[in-house]
Subunit: 254 residues, 2 copies
């Protein structure tokens, strides 16, 4: 090690990333790229505690022994070990990946390999690397989650993404369990009318399986389609289920 | 009627359109705009006879008494009578709507009202109005359909759409029942690598209902995801089910 390396502070973008899952190839089961072949990197840690979170293990401590601190290079290596030459798309999910400033290094390395990137976040925190993501999904949480939306933070994130140079896909996706959630969603769409808008069927049973899970989710989806159909203020919206939940239930790693 | 009107030939764009169904609002259940709120106009008549066609009534004579010859203005009126002010998107489906040259008048009237339009066709015929459609889905039919693809016609349609001025979304969507269909799909994607590409789960039971229809469709979809995941030549593809079939089975008018 040279003398100058000894005295320089460590590069913050080189800090390891807390990772809970790396899996794929599979499909993105929800949102604007529904059905798209992708690999997943799931980070640990969240600033929210949604009542119906389907990935509570990312923040409730139950999987803390599974968290691995990996460098961007190690994550890329593992993605290619799993997916070989079959993929060109990586979805970074959480938890809330926007808690992790050192993600910039992973994003950069994926871009350099021609890999398209997607991120989903509730829109509570900003990181500069977000403008380098190809597909950004903001999913503010409706009342049924038990969380409050910081609209000042969300306003700022939407503005920065809409104004940033370069091309990216952006959407707002809101999970809908009930009429209160729908009222919240309509207000959000009114606030950001230029951002493509998706309503997503809520999954009330996020662990274990039951015989009628699929039919219960499809009934919820049918209700959501019916409500969407009636609403003049949601002309240009989409209603979607989670396809992975229909196919695999609550199984992890698919 | 004036003398000149008597002697002029009738305006071909004003001929009535053979319509079998007008319904909605509902969601587009498949393809690139999956989940999008839309109204449907289904035309009668097809140049294909796909073995597994889910709308055989558009061409097999079984619904010939339901065909209505409607002017563009009548169709628009019926769309607004049904959908009021809740929609801004109309999907024109068939049959093969590209058999109908006088569709230009409907497309024009919808555009004038700020309505976004989508069309699905197998890509066997051209009409000039196709370049004025916002979302064009070309769905050439794989071997399981029993049809042969006229690749000269398809080449010409893809080129004309890619070269036409103006902005539109274009995708190729192929129904997949088996490995032969997948081999066909891979060749089509190789032929048109720049066109967004969707694999769609085949529905082998296109009439009536059975208790295990949903689980059988989801198993087919899971198989399709598995195959897509493995294939290096289908990196940037999507695999999607038909959501309306999961929710409503083979019911018409939803």
């Amino acid at each position: 090690m040279s003398d100058s390396a000894k005295t320089l502070p460590p590069d913050p973008s080189a800090r390891p990333i807390p990772v809970l899952e790396i899996f794929g190839p599979t499909i993105q089961g929800e949102g604007m790229s529904i059905g798209r072949k992708t690999m997943f990197v799931r980070t640990a840690g969240c600033d929210y505690r949604c009542s119906w979170c389907d990935s509570k293990f990312t923040w409730d401590g139950s999987a803390k022994d599974e968290i691995r601190m990996l460098s961007a290079a190690q994550i890329v290596e593992e993605l290619f070990a799993l997916g070989g030459d079959t993929f060109d798309h990586v979805t970074i999910s959480g938890g809330n990946p926007l808690l992790i400033s050192q993600m910039s290094c992973l994003v950069q390395q994926l871009r350099e390999r021609g890999i398209r990137t997607a991120v989903e976040t509730q829109g509570s925190r900003w990181q500069d690397w977000l403008v380098r993501i190809d597909e950004v999904t903001l999913s503010p949480k409706p009342p049924s989650s038990g969380m409050d939306t910081d609209f000042e933070a969300l306003d700022s994130i939407v503005s920065r993404l809409l104004e940033a140079p370069g091309r990216r896909d952006l959407c707002i996706k809101i999970v809908i369990f009930d009429e209160n959630d729908l009222t919240y969603a309509r207000a959000v769409h009114k606030r950001y009318p230029d951002v493509p808008f998706i309503l997503q069927t809520g999954n009330p049973q996020v662990s274990g399986e039951s015989d009628d899970h699929v039919s219960s989710l499809l009934k919820r989806y049918e209700w959501l389609i019916g409500r969407l159909s009636e609403l003049p203020d949601l002309k240009d919206a989409r209603a979607l289920p989670q396809l992975h939940t229909l196919v695999w239930g609550n199984k992890r790693g698919v």
